[in-house]
């Protein structure tokens, strides 16, 4: 890929906390228009990575830049969808989606009609004037995606956005997301611990190994698009899944072995 295709550059990023190192000397690029998923077992610093890209946390060393500009705080050019439901409970669906627009000074009228288009796209027109607590978890996350996209970000960061949903809803949400990506010109960085989800959604999968979080590998997913559920039973999918699983398993084993021995001793 040529340089102009790179949207985000992560360079030698390390994030240390008081007791541990969450991310250690991580470098990679996010290409414009791709959907990059980041997988790894819990505690590998995936969320920290996403938060640093959003500007909600800053690297101890190294830097992250978007379009050549170093990130030094949150900005609407980097939208974020969290695992926890973060819709503003005092605003209706459409007003939640309008939030970024009106904060940036857009008139109420035009903001509302623009927001309605997003609400329509996520298929929740009937719920436009409902409050978040009247919506199911899946619906809330759809609105959260629309709310972020309405701000016209360059990248959408998603930190295990479907983690709290049941398996069926999660699958539907994955479809929703892919459909949205077909219609909107957006780059997505999607954090997950679910391998199927990571492969199903991704153009590329970045595998992190834990303690400290380091890049294990970045794998291209050359499965055909548009993707459908049946894909998960295809030979190529299963093969890729096995490959990634063994990668993560390996990384975990190195990490977990002493822990197991420790608990054995205690027992």
């Amino acid at each position: 890929m040529s340089d102009t295709d790179t949207l985000i550059e992560v360079r030698q990023v390390t994030r240390r906390f008081a007791e541990s190192t969450a991310i250690k000397e991580v470098s990679f690029d996010v290409y414009r228009g791709e959907l990059l998923t980041v997988v790894g077992s819990s505690g590998c610093g995936k969320s920290t990575l996403a938060r640093m890209m959003a500007g909600l946390d800053s690297p101890t060393s190294g830097e992250i830049s978007i379009d050549g500009k170093v990130i030094d705080g949150p900005s609407p050019d980097r939208g974020m969808v969290f695992q926890k439901y973060t819709l503003f409970p005092w605003l209706t669906v459409v007003k939640n989606v309008m939030f970024a627009l009106t904060v940036q000074g857009q008139g109420r009228r035009s903001a509302e009609s623009e927001a309605m288009q997003w609400v329509e796209m996520i298929g929740l027109s009937d719920f436009a004037h409902r409050y978040p607590h009247e919506l199911s978890g899946g619906m809330q996350q759809r609105v959260a995606i629309a709310r972020s996209l309405a701000a016209r970000p360059k990248v959408l960061l998603m930190d295990e956005p479907f983690g709290a949903l049941d398996a069926q809803t999660r699958q539907k949400m994955q479809h929703h997301l892919l459909t949205i990506c077909e219609h909107v010109d957006i780059t997505v960085v999607f954090i997950t611990h679910d391998l199927d989800e990571a492969i199903f959604l991704a153009d590329r999968v970045l595998v992190l190994k834990p303690n400290p979080g380091e890049i294990q590998d970045i794998v291209n997913v050359s499965l055909p698009k548009p993707r459908c559920i049946d894909l998960q039973f295809s030979h190529a999918f299963v093969e890729l899944r096995t490959k990634l699983a063994s990668m993560i398993h390996h990384a975990d084993e190195e990490e977990d072995l002493p822990m197991h021995m420790l608990t054995m001793k205690h027992a």
């Binding site: 959003a54 500007g55 909600l56 705080g73 949150p74 900005s75 609407p76 980097r78 939208g79 974020m80 969290f82 926890k84 973060t86 503003f88 409970p89 005092w90 605003l91 209706t92 939030f99 970024a100 904060v103 940036q104 409050y131 978040p132 607590h133 959260a144 709310r147 972020s148 701000a151 960061l157």
Partner: protein, 311 residues
């Protein structure tokens, strides 16, 4: 809206009926307490007078003495002390207090006293809220602000508000101003701390989400923090308003005694304890009524909250 089950309604009614029942038993069932005897016929006891109240021990001692000496024994009825009037007496007192003219022309009707108390509370609480709530929200939102303001407020709130009574009178005169000041002092410092704490309880994820959507500084404060904490601030204010009533009684005693407290002390001086109880209960009723109204208004104002979140 919270739908209450019939059983729950019963329990709520019971929470009022139970104390009333206990009060009634003590008042109407003679052998439960009734430690005194009111003399109906003094007999041959020289120091007894009809209508006089003596203790049961005194009465039985005198009765024994007279029968031993072959004199006429006194007669009397067992009663509770004058400071515990029966429910029906308090109920009548509550009614007659509103209908009887004050004893002197310069004195006020009960409803005028009450209204005066309400205005004092209103001004004390409103002035405190106008400054205390914004200050508390700022302290809860901005850490430097919290560090600058809260330690002193924390210290100051331990000063008992009534202790400022004499000072308030010296500075503000003897009328309503020092009373309002006492309620202000009693409410304000607690209010700042409570509001700051409530503000800090706002889900930090909402703030982070707002930041990624371009909110910062003033827009973050006014469009996320304030609406986010509003229902809880409203609930805090309801509790604080209850506290303001407790300061009222002290506040009204300083300078020229006024309002409902004046009525209570005056009636206690006349030993009209049924009136005293009536007045105390009126304060309770007004407090309860305001709170119920505020709770209902709150549910209307904050429709966006799930029903189980509303207290």
């Amino acid at each position: 809206m919270i739908e209450r089950l019939p059983r729950e309604r019963l329990l709520i009614a019971g929470s009022f009926l139970l104390p009333l029942l206990i009060w009634s038993i003590i008042s109407y069932v003679p052998f439960v307490w009734h430690p005194n005897v009111v003399i109906t016929d003094p007999g041959d006891v020289s120091w007894f007078r009809a209508g006089m109240e003596v203790t049961r021990e005194q009465f039985s001692a005198e009765t024994e003495k007279t029968t031993d000496d072959g004199l006429i024994a006194p007669a009397g009825e067992r009663v509770n002390p004058v400071y515990l009037p029966a429910p029906h007496k308090v109920a009548t007192a509550m009614y007659t207090a509103f209908t009887t003219e004050p004893k002197r022309r310069s004195e006020k009707w009960l409803h005028e006293s009450l209204w005066h108390s309400i205005t004092v509370i209103f001004w004390g609480f409103t002035l405190s809220s106008l400054i205390g709530i914004p200050l508390g929200v700022l302290c809860g939102t901005y850490r430097p602000m919290s560090l600058l303001i809260e330690p002193f407020v924390e210290f100051f709130r331990y000063f008992p508000a009534p202790a400022f009574g004499a000072l308030a009178v010296a500075i503000l005169g003897i009328h309503d101003a020092p009373k309002i000041a006492i309620i202000f002092i009693g409410t304000f410092f607690q209010q700042v701390l409570i509001v700051a704490n409530t503000t800090r309880l706002l889900d930090p994820m909402l703030i982070e989400a707002a930041k990624t959507l371009g909110a910062e500084g003033r827009s973050l404060l006014l469009r996320v923090v304030v609406p986010g904490v509003l229902p809880n601030l409203y609930r805090d204010s309801r509790i604080l308003l209850g506290w303001a009533w407790t300061y009222l009684i002290v506040a009204e005693l300083i300078g020229t005694s006024s309002g409902i407290t004046w009525f209570i002390t005056q009636q206690a001086r006349y030993k009209n304890f049924d009136n005293v109880f009536a007045a105390i209960m009126l304060i309770g009723l007004i407090g309860l009524l305001t709170d119920v109204i505020l709770a209902k208004t709150g549910r209307r104002l904050f429709r966006w909250q799930p029903a189980e979140a509303t207290p």
